[in-house]
Every structure is written in C-alpha cells, then in structure tokens.
C-alpha cells in the first residue's frame, strides 16, 4: 500500500489585508490634512469613495437573506424619517446655535488633523464593511 503524503495545511495569509489596512491608514493620514472646501479634500474623498464603490459593485455579494416580515424594519424607517426631518428642519431654519445641523456640530470636532484623519479612516472602514456584506 502506497503511503500518502500528509495533507498540506492551507493557511490564509493576511498579507493583503494588512497592506490594505496600512494603505488606508496612510491615505487617511494624508486626507485628514486637507481642510474642507479644498480641491485636495474633494479628490481624496472621491478617490477613496471610487475604490470602495467599485469594490462594492464588482465583488460578489454574500447571499444573506433578510428576515420576514418586513414590518420588523418599521422602527428603523421611523428613525430615518425622524433624522431626515430633524436635519432638514435645521437646514431650513438656517442651522444656527439654537437648532444646529449635524455638520455644524461636527465641524469644530473634525478640525484637528489627527481627529480628521481618524474620522476619515473610520469612514473608509464603514465603506469596507458595507462592501464585505
């Protein structure tokens, strides 16, 4: 009886994921240095966004079935309408200190380079998590 070779242990190498993570972090570090309303900031957002959107549309989707009945989503629908209404009313009334919009609240928070970079990286990570679904 011929002896069979031992099974080869196939291990996934995380090299690509680690490289992508470092790349995203470096990109976020650069993007966070650009203030709003600059063409550099727009380019960074569009570049990062284009990569994620392309990956999202080209990557095969995992077939995860949503549960039924659909009324289980009603609470989220009400919350979404509430958020859009609150944000919309802030914009319509001029987004002042008495009723600020979300961007008015976050602008001073996102001003420091480090915070902006971390937030940018968080945004990229959120996009990646949407793509991985």
């Amino acid at each position: 009886m011929a002896t069979q070779p031992p099974p080869v242990e196939v291990r996934r190498r995380p090299t690509r994921a680690i490289l992508a993570g470092f790349g995203a972090a470096g990109f976020a570090g650069v993007a966070g240095g650009f203030a709003s309303f600059t063409w550099q900031a727009t380019v960074c957002v569009m570049l990062g966004g284009a990569v994620i959107v392309l990956l999202g549309m080209l990557r095969p989707q995992r077939r995860r079935l949503a549960p039924t009945p659909r009324r289980g989503a009603l609470a989220w629908a009400i919350l979404a309408v509430g958020f859009l209404g609150w944000e919309g009313s802030a914009l319509v009334t001029g987004s002042g200190p008495s009723h600020p919009s979300l961007s008015l609240l976050l602008d001073p928070v996102l001003e420091p380079h480090a915070v902006r970079s971390v937030a940018f990286l968080g945004w990229l990570l959120g996009g990646w998590m949407l793509v991985r679904r």
Binding site: A31, S36, F37, A41, T42, C44, V45, M46, G48, G49, I52, V53, G56, M57, Q61, R64, L65, A66, P67, P69, R70, R71, G72, A73, A75, W76, L79, G82, F83, W86, H99, P100, L102, S103, L105, L106, L110, R116, A119, F120, W123, G126, G127, L130, V131, R133
Partner: protein, 59 residues
Amino acid sequence: MLGFAALALAAVAIELAARRPNSPLWTVGDCLAYITRPRLGRLGVLLAWLWVGWHFFAR
C-alpha cells in the same frame, strides 16, 4: 444637539432590542441585507455612504 443625541440613543435602543432572542425587530444588518439585495439598492447605499464622506470631509 439634544435632538441628535436622542436619535442616537434611539438607534442604540432599537439595535439592542433587535438582538434579543425572538425579537420581531430587524437589526441594522438585516435592513442592509434587504436594501442591498438588488444591485440598485447596493449602489444606492454605497452612494449614500459616499455622500456622507463628501459632506463631512470635502464640502
């Protein structure tokens, strides 16, 4: 500011309630699974994500 804080708390409460056993509520993941099932829904969600980035980092 209190309005956004209340909305955030409500979101956390719904998610926690949805994760309980035999809960009739959907989690955020369930909602996204439903919306992104058609290709157009997937594109819509990604474009909404892109808009969020543009709104807070570029505009």
